[in-house]
C-alpha cells in the first residue's frame, strides 16, 4: 500500500502536571498515517499519561495535542468513533460475562460494522485468542481480562489504535497471536498504530518507527535500525581454556570481562553477525546471546549514573544526546 505521510498524531510542547509532579515536560510526538509507531520508555516515564491525553481522558496542563486533526479533550466523542484503544490493566464488571463486556464496549464504540459481520468477527477473535466469553467477569484471570480489551478493540474497524502495554499478562502464545493480528490490520487496512511498551522486543517485532520517552519528554526517535545502532547485545560463554585475545582486538566488542568462569562482552547489536564466525572458530561452549533490554539501553545512553554527562541533556535537549549516542558505537 501507499504510505501517505500525513500526520495522525502531533503533540507540541505538551505538559501535564499532577500537583508538583511533572508527568509530561514538553513532549513533542509525531505519528504518521499508516505506520506502527513504538512508544518506548521505562515505568513512570509518562507513556500512559500521553495516551490518556491523546484519548481525551486527561487534559493537558499546557501545549497542544492533535489526533486525526481533532482536539482530543474537546472532540473526545467524535474522535473515539475512529479510534480503538487498549489499556494495560483491564477491570471487568463482576456480574457481566466477558462476552457481554465485549458487546457493550463495541456497541459504545459504534464503529459501523453490521450485526452479522460483528458476530462473525467476535466469534473468530474469541477462537483466535482461545477466550471463553461466557464466564462472569469476576472469574477471569489477568490475561483473560486483557483479552476482553484486545477483542473489543480488534472486533470493530478503526483508523487509529492506541495501545498501552496491550499484551501485559498474556502468555507468549497469545502475544504472538496479538502481534500477528496487529500486523495484519496494519497491512490490510493501512491503519495507524501507536504502541506503548517497555518491552523492546515487542516493539522491535512490530514498529516501523519509535519514539523514546523519559521523564516526560521524547529523548530519541527514528527508525528501528537507528535504534539497533544504539544497543549492545550481551554475549557470554564458558571460559574453559578459550583464548579471548582474538576477541579483544575486534572493534565490535566492548567491555570484555572474565568472571566466575565465564567470558562476557557486549557487541553492537547491528554487528553481532560479524562476531559470530570468530566465536565459531573458537568452539565456545555454553554460548548465551541476550538481546538488548530497554533498561540496558537507558542505562547506557540516558542513565544518570552510568554516563554523568547525560544529566545535561535535560537542558540542551536533542543535540547533546545525539553526540553522546555516537560515543559507544565508535569506542
Amino acid at each position: 500500500m501507499f504510505v501517505v505521510m500525513d500526520t495522525v498524531i502531533q503533540t507540541v510542547d505538551l505538559h501535564k502536571n499532577f500537583g508538583r509532579v511533572k508527568a509530561l515536560d514538553g513532549l513533542d510526538l509525531e505519528v504518521h498515517e499508516g505506520e506502527i509507531h513504538g512508544f518506548l520508555g521505562p515505568n513512570g516515564a509518562g507513556k500512559t499519561t500521553t495516551l490518556r491525553i491523546l484519548l481525551g481522558l486527561a487534559r493537558a496542563s499546557s501545549g497542544s495535542a492533535t489526533v486525526l486533526g481533532m482536539h482530543p479533550w474537546a472532540d473526545a466523542v467524535e474522535l473515539h468513533r475512529r479510534v480503538a484503544s487498549i489499556p494495560g490493566d483491564v477491570s471487568l464488571w463482576p456480574n457481566l460475562s466477558g462476552g457481554e463486556a465485549i458487546d457493550l464496549l463495541s456497541r459504545l464504540r459504534d464503529g459501523g460494522v453490521d450485526q452479522a459481520t460483528y458476530k462473525e468477527r467476535k466469534h473468530h477473535l474469541c477462537e483466535l485468542f482461545d477466550f471463553d466469553p461466557s464466564k462472569k467477569g469476576r472469574a477471569y484471570s489477568k490475561g483473560n481480562r486483557q483479552k476482553v480489551a484486545l477483542i473489543s478493540a480488534l472486533v470493530m474497524d478503526a483508523e487509529l489504535y492506541l495501545l498501552d502495554e496491550p499484551t501485559s499478562g498474556l502468555d507468549p502464545l497469545m502475544e504472538a497471536v496479538f502481534t500477528r493480528e496487529i500486523r495484519r490490520i496494519a497491512h490490510e487496512n493501512g491503519v495507524t498504530v501507536l504502541l506503548s511498551s517497555h518491552i523492546l522486543s515487542e516493539v522491535e517485532q512490530l514498529a516501523d518507527r519509535v519514539s523514546i520517552i523519559r521523564a516526560g519528554r521524547i529523548v530519541d526517535g527514528g527508525t528501528l535500525d537507528a535504534l539497533r545502532h544504539l544497543t549492545r547485545t550481551e554475549i557470554s560463554f564458558a571460559q574453559d581454556s578459550v583464548d579471548t585475545h582474538a576477541l579483544d582486538t575486534l572493534s565490535q566488542v566492548h567491555d570484555l570481562t572474565v568472571a566466575d568462569g565465564r567470558v562476557k562482552f557486549g557487541a553492537d547489536s547491528d554487528r553481532v553477525h560479524e562476531v559470530l564466525p570468530l566465536l565459531g572458530s573458537l568452539r565456545v561452549k555454553g554460548l548465551l546471546v541476550a538481546p538488548p533490554s530497554l533498561e540496558e539501553l537507558f542505562l547506557r545512553h540516558y542513565g544518570d549514573t552510568v554516563t554523568p554527562p547525560a544529566r545535561q541533556e535535560e537542558d540542551d535537549g536533542g543535540t547533546h544526546h545525539r553526540r553522546h549516542r555516537a560515543a559507544p558505537a565508535g569506542a
Binding site: L55, G56, A76, H80, V90, L104, R107, L108, D110
Partner: protein, 540 residues
Amino acid sequence: MGALWILYRQRLRRDRWQVTVWVLSIGMLALFAVAAIAKTFGDDATRAQVLQLATAAPAILLLRGLPRGPGLDSFTFFEIFAFLGVLAGLMNTFLAVRHTRAEEESGRGEMIAATAAGRWAPLGATVLHGAVVNILVSIATALGFMAGGLDPAGSLVAGFATGAVGFAFLGVGLLASEFFSTSRGANGISSALVMVGYLLRGFGDATGQVGPDGTTMTAAWPSWISPIGWGQQTFAYTGNRWWPLLLPLALGVACTAIVVAIMARRDVGASVFAGRSGRADARPWLRGSFSLALRLQQGAIIGWCIGGLATGLLTGSLGSAIQSSITSNPQITAVLRGMIEAQGTSMTQLLVAALFEVAGILAAACGLQAVLRLRQEEVAGTAEPVVAESVSRMRWLGSFIGLGAVSVVLVMAFTALGAWLSLVASGDTSSAVGDVWQTAVDQLPAALIYLALPAAVFVVWPRATIPAGWALLGIGVVLGIYGGMLGLDQKLRDLSPFTHTPVTTSTGTDWSGGFWMLSIAAVLTALALAAVRRREVGTA
C-alpha cells in the same frame, strides 16, 4: 443506539436485582406500616394520645417525624416517612457512587470513556437511571400506602416525597463521587450526609412549636435544611402540598450542575481531593494481622467515632431545647410529665435511651465494616499474601473480629463522652448524667452480634458476606427499633438483637437479654474461628 441508551441499559442490567429489592422493600414497608399502625393504634383517640405524649416528650420525635394530626393516614406518614427517606437516600447515594466513582476507581470508567460514549454519557446514564428508579420508588411507596387503604391523593404526595428525597441524595452521591478518589470514601461521606439529614430533621421536629391540641407541630428551622425535612413539609394527607418537593429536586439538579462543572475540568479518574501520598516507611506497630486490620480501618473508625460523639453531644443540646419547648406549653406537659415519671423514666433518660439507640446502630455498623473488610481483602487478593505469611487463617479472622470489637467499644465510648459533656454543660444534675456510661455499655451486646454473625456468614458462604451483613443490620434496625412503632408482632421483633438491648432506668438495668446476646456472639465467633481452619482463602 446512542451511547446514553446503551449505558442506561447496562445500568439496568447490572442493577436489576438490587434495585428491584430496594424498590419492593420500600413499597412493602409503606404497606406494612399502614397495616401495623391500623392494628396497634386503632382509633383517632389512641393516636391523639400517642401524639400528645410525643409532643410533650419530643425525644420520641427524633426517631419519628412531624405530628400533623391523629388521622390514620397522617399518623402513618408521621411514623414512617423519615425512615423511608433514609432508605431512599441510601439507595440513591449507593447507586450514584456505584456507577460513577466506583467505575472510575476500577478503571472500567476509563474503558467506557475511551469509546464514543466519552466522558459525559456515563454521567447522563447514571442520572437517568437514578431518576427512573426514584419514580419507581415514588410509585411503589404510593401504591403501598394506597393498598393499605390510605387516601390516594395523599399517598401520591407521600410517594413522590420519598422519591424526591431520593433524587436529592442522588445528587449528593454524585457530588461526593467528584470529591473522593475512592468509592469507599464517597459512600462513607454520602451515607453520613443521609444520616445528617435524618438527624437535622429530628432536631428540627423535636424543637418545633406544638400546636394547640398537642397533636400537631410546626418544625423548627433545622428541618428546613434537610431533604427529609422538606419531604415532611408536604404535609401529606392533611395539606397535600407539592411545592416543598421543588427543594429536593432543586438540590439534586444543583448538585448535578456542580458535578458537570467539575467534570468539565478534571481528568477521568481524578478527584477534587487527590489521593494523598502515603508514608515511605511503615510505622513500627504495623507488624501483624491485627495492626494491619487497624491500619486498614483507622479512617472508618475515626469517622464512626465522630458520628458517635456528635450523637452524644446532641443529647445535652436537645435536652435543653426540649426543656424550653415544654415550659412553653405547661397545661399538657404537666399531665404528661407525670405519666412519664410514673413509668420510672425521666426526660433525660428517655432522650439518652433514644439517642444511644442510634449510636448503638452506628457502633454495630462500624464493627460490621471491620468484619466485611475480610471479604473485601479476600476479593482484592490482598488477603492471600497475609495468610501466606506466618499468619494462620484463624488468627487473621480473629484479628478483624477483635478489631471490630475494639471499634464498637470506641464508638460507644465517644458517644457517652459527648453525652456526658453536653449534659454537664447544659446544667443537668440528675442521676441520668452518670447513667450515660451504663447506657453506652448496654449497647455493646447487640453490636457484638453484628461482628459474630457476619463472621460466621463469611466463613460459611463468603460471597454473601457483604450483602448479608448490611441486610442483617437493616432488618435488625427495622424489627428492633422501628418494630415497636410499627406494632409488629413481638415474636418478629424478638428476632432483632436491638430488641434485647438492656435499658437503664432509674430502677436499674435488666441485663438478662444482654448476657444471652454475649453468649450467642461468643459461640458464633468460636464456631467461625474453628470453621475457618477448614476453609480456603480465595476470591470466588
